[in-house]
């Protein structure tokens, strides 16, 4: 790792920034195809109702309407990994998102008008909106498409994990705390709303989807299964994606609906959500209720964690139900923990369903754990920084769940943020001054553990790369991985530039077409730099094996003596050099003639979890700690975040510019989760489907964000790097809540920490 790096580690502007900053980039909203129609979806008026009848006759007669579909005139399979979700609903609706009919028309206005002309007769039913009600034995069955995997008819998914001897550890615990935490429903708020343009060719039976999916190959399979088609007849072209954050990890009904409209009409169909529809019908972060009991011995060492989580699954299942897979890692393995029991139950309700969202359950788990640690520290009378350092993870640790921490910056991260916040913080107000001081300041800490080297949850966690050097010395990287704004194209180009000595301006990245690019799982689990990066490194190595012998021959030197630099291949022995493109031409055009193309597939060395959920599921693990200083206005209840100190074990900094953007974006997103955001749902209806009432952080809310990367140089990462994308968001809400609790001396047990909650808590205290 002492190699002198030329571009890795240097601030490098995104190679795709130009087209994005000029508006040239084509998002789904900007696509115009010849003869294109506009699609629109009719959703239910009531969260729970019987559908007595659907009359589409008036809509069909409207001039400009080309097609109206309902469940009765399509032949499809249910979707979702549990196959519990009909694309269009028939007989009954179960949540406010439910799709009843869809139209394709010659203009957006006509499509909307047609929806108004569809007459649906409902018989409104009582719904169940509380998972604790739904799980009762006498509750009616909510989803009628499940396969009876669990004895209780309203359980969608259940996870159980344990290690160590809970009873023994409980017995030796001098301190035990127990608390319930409630986590809200928040949503991704991608700046570009959900969109799809489907283009079905009647003549060759091929379906081209201009999609925003984060997982193009899994998506191709899912669309095929939904529409009963051959997967290879479906071509996914990823448009420029206006924000992902996990929202595009699953396929939702609107996507096969748009495809069906195109297949029925034989014309391209574009379907774009309005912002209101986006709030109502795009996925959310999983809402859940945590019951945590945890203990420590007389020295403050953690002894056990006993955790029960209840997830509000909503009416259908998406990835939200599987977030416990990630959450259990936090309870089993973040800070050393001798015994752990984790039970989660995802319960069907008539609420909207949750998908995956940056962190995949980990912000929720981290909030519950880190709040509990603060309470334990208070119980013990130990400092909140000391208890964390005492229990921190360490290099070489193999956790009881089987995670191998080959590198681990946890302790260093903690020490860094503790030190930094100390240097800057204002002295805390002594408690006797409480009644006279309006503004109270407090400090909070939180750490996080997340996969940083992919996550082996599919048959493969791999990524393919094809490299091609043209006769002019330009490199094309064809990668299976996808760009969703996070800067992966740039990092991959930097890696290739580093290894081949080709200037980054001469590198192109092709990554949007399933007909061209090699297989990849998709953008999730903070895996792209690690997995796709390693894949590029492997491909470069293979390509060099083709180029170097020819270069050595031309330079009359040995292969081992060559270096690739500034577009040249040089011999370190005889100081001769040759332009890379000359060598490529010599390989292409001289007998026997060969192309400078190579393909490589990288599969991380991680393993599947066993049926007890134990196993080393990632190639590397990322750690981060954050410390936060807040100021609470005790008159208004307003919380102002003053400074956030972030220390994150990133393995190795690849692109400091992109990394800082991930950190800052994550922290501010975490701040929204902590203080502002909540989708307010009442009896299944969403009451605030707009940016006016659903508050996102704005530039005015940005605190001081101070970032200290920790480079542990993991031997399996590209140049030692680990995944970074999700981590910065994960501990932020926990650290802010801990800081608020520190400032005003009350326990914070739910998010968001709104002024109302702060004032109520203060009132209850005095």
């Amino acid at each position: 790792m002492t190699k002198n790096l030329k571009i890795i580690g240097k601030p490098t502007p995104k190679i795709d920034a130009n087209i994005r900053v000029t508006g040239e980039a084509q998002f789904g909203h900007d696509i115009q195809l010849p003869n294109m129609l506009y699609g629109a979806i009719l959703r239910t008026k009531y969260p729970v109702a019987e559908i007595i009848s659907i009359d589409t006759s008036k809509a069909k007669k409207l001039e400009g309407v080309k097609c109206v579909i309902t469940a009765d005139n399509i032949d499809v399979n249910n979707i979702s990994y549990r196959r519990d979700h009909p694309i269009l609903k028939k007989g009954q609706v179960n949540c406010i998102r439910d799709e009843i009919a869809a139209v394709a028309a010659t203009s957006k206005e006509i499509a909307q008008k047609a929806l108004e002309l569809i007459e649906v007769k409902y018989k409104v039913r009582e719904g169940i909106f509380d998972p604790f009600e739904a799980i009762k034995e006498d509750a009616p069955q909510i989803n009628h498409f499940i396969d009876g995997k669990y004895p209780n008819k309203n359980i969608a998914e259940h996870f159980h994990y344990e290690h160590g001897n809970l009873d023994e550890e409980k017995a030796i615990s001098k301190y035990i705390v127990s608390h319930r935490y409630t986590l809200p429903r928040v949503t991704h708020c991608c700046m570009a709303t959900s969109n799809m343009t489907a283009d079905y060719s009647k003549t060759d039976g091929k379906l081209t989807l201009y999609s925003t999916t984060q997982v193009p190959f899994l998506y191709q399979r899912d669309i095929a299964r939904a529409l009963k088609m051959e997967p290879s007849k479906i071509r996914i072209i990823q448009v420029v994606i206006g924000g992902g954050f996990g929202s595009k990890l699953d396929m939702y009904p609107y996507e096969p609906i748009c495809a069906l409209l195109s297949m029925k009409t034989g014309q391209p169909v574009q379907l774009i959500f309005s912002r209101e529809e986006e709030f109502i019908a795009s996925p959310t972060r999983q809402t859940m209720i945590y019951d945590v009991t945890a203990g420590a011995d007389e020295n403050g060492r953690f002894t056990f964690r006993d955790v029960r989580v209840t997830l509000d699954n909503g009416a259908y299942t998406s990835w939200g139900a599987t977030t416990p897979f990630v959450m259990m890692q936090t309870f089993s393995s973040l800070y050393q923990c001798p015994a752990c029991r984790f039970d989660s139950t995802s319960v069907y309700t008539n609420n909207v369903y949750a998908g995956s969202f940056r962190g995949y359950g980990n912000p929720q788990a981290t909030f519950a754990l880190e709040r509990t640690i603060d309470m334990l520290a208070e119980e013990i009378g130990m400092s909140k920084s000391e208890i964390r350092i005492l229990n921190a993870n360490f290099k070489g640790e193999i956790t009881k769940q089987g995670l191998h921490f080959n590198t681990c910056g946890h302790k260093e991260a903690l020490e860094t943020v503790i030190e930094k916040v100390k240097g800057h913080t204002h002295p805390l107000v002594p408690s006797q001054e409480w009644k006279t001081k309006r503004y109270k300041r407090g400090v909070g800490y939180a750490s996080m553990l997340h996969v940083g080297g992919g996550a082996k949850i599919y048959p493969s966690d791999g990524c393919g790369t094809t490299l091609k050097i043209d006769p002019f010395g330009y490199l094309t990287i064809i990668t299976g991985s996808s760009e969703i704004g996070q800067g992966s194209e740039t990092v991959l180009a930097m890696i290739a530039s580093e290894e081949l000595g080709i200037d980054i301006s001469r590198i192109k990245v092709i990554n949007t077409d399933t007909d061209i690019k090699p297989w990849d799982v998709g953008v999730h689990a903070s895996r792209t730099s690690f997995v796709a990066g390693n894949s590029v490194l492997g491909a470069v190595k293979k390509l060099k094996e083709k180029i170097s012998p020819k270069a050595a021959q031309l330079l009359k030197t040995n292969v081992d003596d060559l270096i690739y630099e500034k577009g040249l291949i040089k011999s370190v022995i005889n100081e001769s050099s040759i332009e890379l493109d000359k060598v490529v031409r010599a390989i292409h055009f001289k007998e026997p003639g060969e192309l400078c193309i190579d393909t490589y597939f990288f599969e991380p060395s991680s393993e599947f979890a066993d049926n007890e959920f134990k196993g080393n599921v990632s190639g590397a693990y990322a750690f981060a700690s954050q410390s936060v200083e807040v100021e609470v206005d005790t008159y208004t209840g307003n919380v102002k975040v003053l400074d956030v100190y972030v220390a994150q074990d990133v393995g190795k900094v690849l692109n400091p510019l992109g990394l800082a953007g991930q950190i800052e974006g994550g922290v501010v997103m975490g701040m929204g989760y902590a203080l502002l955001e909540e989708l307010i749902v009442d009896k299944g209806m969403i009451l605030n489907p707009n940016f006016h009432n659903y508050k996102l952080p704005t530039a005015m809310d940005v605190p001081g964000i101070h970032f200290y990367p920790i480079e542990t140089e993991d031997s399996l990462g590209p140049y030692g790097a680990k995944g970074v994308g999700e981590a910065p968001l994960i501990p932020t809400a926990a650290a802010i809540a801990n800081a608020v609790s520190d400032a005003i001396g009350v326990q914070i047990d739910s998010l968001p920490v709104t002024p109302e909650k702060v004032l109520r808590a203060l009132e209850e205290k005095f």
């Binding site: 920034a17 000029t22 006016h692």
Partner: protein, 170 residues
């Protein structure tokens, strides 16, 4: 849809003249048409982004006579006689990137890019304001205020503020 004679005679359609990115144009539009639809659907300039269509996100920000406006809240007929600048108006073949855009790229202020055109236009408007009013504050607090109407979900705003500060404080 706008050039057909039958449309012109319909009730509620109006002829308007204005400058778009320095070029005079004349179009016939329905009186209820929003500026964003005029820009995206009639003028076919797709750089102006539709983020919410209710004036909350700022992705559709354009300049009217140099000032930032949410094009989704502005009736297109009111553009009559005015100068409209869209994100496309900041690029020329000779100078494809404006200073605001160059600074945004340099500072890593662009991630997914959907908010970027609107963000650029808001900063541009603030830059215009700074030029006409030399005593105006141009520190990071003033910049935050200038872009508070532009939502961004990717960057956490820090790099956008840095880019604008670098541009305006020099």
């Amino acid at each position: 849809m706008l050039k057909s004679d039958s449309n012109i005679t319909q009730l509620g359609w109006q002829k308007i003249n204005f400058n778009v990115n320095g070029t005079p144009v004349e179009v016939y539009i329905p009186q209820s048409l929003l500026l964003i639809d005029l820009i995206r659907d009639v003028l076919n300039l797709k750089g102006t982004k539709p983020g919410c269509l209710e004036g909350e996100c700022g992705a559709c920000t354009v300049l009217i006579d140099g000032k930032a406006v949410n094009s989704c809240l502005y009736l297109a007929i009111n553009i009559y006689g005015k100068n409209l600048t869209t994100i496309e108006g900041l690029s020329t073949t000779e100078k494809p990137l404006d200073v605001v855009q160059l600074k945004m790229i340099e500072h890593g202020a662009v991630q997914c890019g959907f908010c970027s055109p609107g963000m650029v236009m808001s900063i541009k408007a603030f830059q215009n304001e700074c030029e006409t009013n030399p005593i105006i504050g141009r520190d990071s607090e003033a910049i935050k205020k200038a872009i508070e109407g532009n939502l961004c979900r990717c960057t956490g705003y820090v790099r956008i503020i840095d880019a604008a500060e670098d541009l305006l404080s020099k």
